[in-house]
Amino acid sequence: MPRIMHIDMDAYFASLEQMKNPMLQNRPVVVGSSPDQRGVVSTASYEARAFGIRSGMSSAQAGKLCPDAVFIGVDGDHITSTTSALKTIFEFYSPRVEIVSVDEAFVDVTGCTHLWGGEDVLAGHLKRTVKDQLDLTCSVGIAPSKIMAKLASSVFKPDGLTILTPEDIPAMVYPLPVDKLWGVGPVVTKAFNAVGIETIGQLATRNISDLRKRFGKWGEMLGKLARGEGGSEILPPDEQPDEKSVGHERTFSSDVGSLDDLKATLNFLADLVGRRLRRHEFAGRTITLKYRFSNFETHTRRTTLEFPTDDTLRIYSVACALLSHSYKPGRKLRLLGISVSHLSHPTQPHDQLDMFVRGPLAKPAGKIDHLVDTIRDRFGERSIASAYSRMQAR
């Protein structure tokens, strides 16, 4: 029977800040945008949570709830470095580690626990190692599937440990509201509630074909997961499926209505997207432009090219054309984004036909892109950029 461990770092970003700066310990700390800027809370320390501050809340609202909170920007370098150290720790316990996000991971401990003398001993050892090496706490859940392990890790926080056997699930999990299940958001909860499914137990005991009829494959899958069936496969990084799209977007600090400013921003975004495509050896055929007006009205426009591209200039030109055709300058935007989908690896057979095409489509990326990539690989991402992208709206 599979045994899956879920590790959730407690108030991760805020804990890192409190760990490195003792002046912040026992104080409400909010990591995210400043309250006088547009943006949201990434993580709040437990002291800040006592004031009702939660992840995803606007920073302005968080500032009103706790005017004395310390607001700190996200330190990406520190987080990335620490997450890498955490992954090394987790891999000591099992080779099958799936990093779900920067602050949580699944570890397949099936067949490993007897080496430690039990699941509680293994989990306790891991928690102590994280504390000793990084001075951080985490909450751990162990269960037969990923969804149950994630639920278990949320039972006792912070610094908790919950172990669920299949026999525990009816008593401990079934009474919980259905929205406690991973993947069940407000819309799905409302749909479930409308047919009398209020708890995980009610979902688990529903006829699977009825769930499929009412909610499609997603409903069927959730029904099975609620019963503890399936959902235990851990995917280490080299077994993860390829990305379906590559995109970047920017929320402006104040709304922008100038076409020049917007095009400069598209130049910047196309550069990020092209760079990421080339780094992962992808090219894509569909380019999508996304823009959001001040009133949150959101539009997407897309076009599909004859051949896949990873060329920054090509992505930029297409995005500009999409913007020019659909957007009337003057009306202010709060967000702009570009994504590229229908991805393939440039070495895949259908792309090899492109070798006979003349002009910019003949190569996956132009000479300038390759030169810029080489410079950035050696000197860093900020070492070179087009002058136009430096004029992007902030």
Partner: protein, 82 residues
């Protein structure tokens, strides 16, 4: 509140347990003795590594120092001011 800086700084550091550890630094004419390194992490600038240190001096002031391996240069990147 943090103040972000990029001030070059003179540092005396030691290699201890296979890692670099700042011991004293001179910033704006004043010598600060490091009482505790509270954190250390790395970032990359292309192929080059930047080593970051959060620390307290003996007066309990908080600093973040960074050592850029490409430039062989120490800087103060952050200070904490109440």
């Amino acid at each position: 509140m943090y103040q972000t800086l990029d001030d070059p700084v003179d540092v005396i550091a030691v290699f201890e347990n296979h890692s670099l550890k700042p011991m004293r630094f001179r910033w704006r004419g004043k010598v600060h003795k490091v009482s505790r390194v509270t954190g250390s992490w790395k970032s990359r600038e292309g192929t080059y590594v930047i080593r970051h240190y959060s620390l307290l001096d003996t007066d309990e002031n908080f600093f973040e120092l960074a050592y850029n391996e490409r430039l062989s240069q120490w800087t103060i990147s952050k200070i904490w001011q109440e």
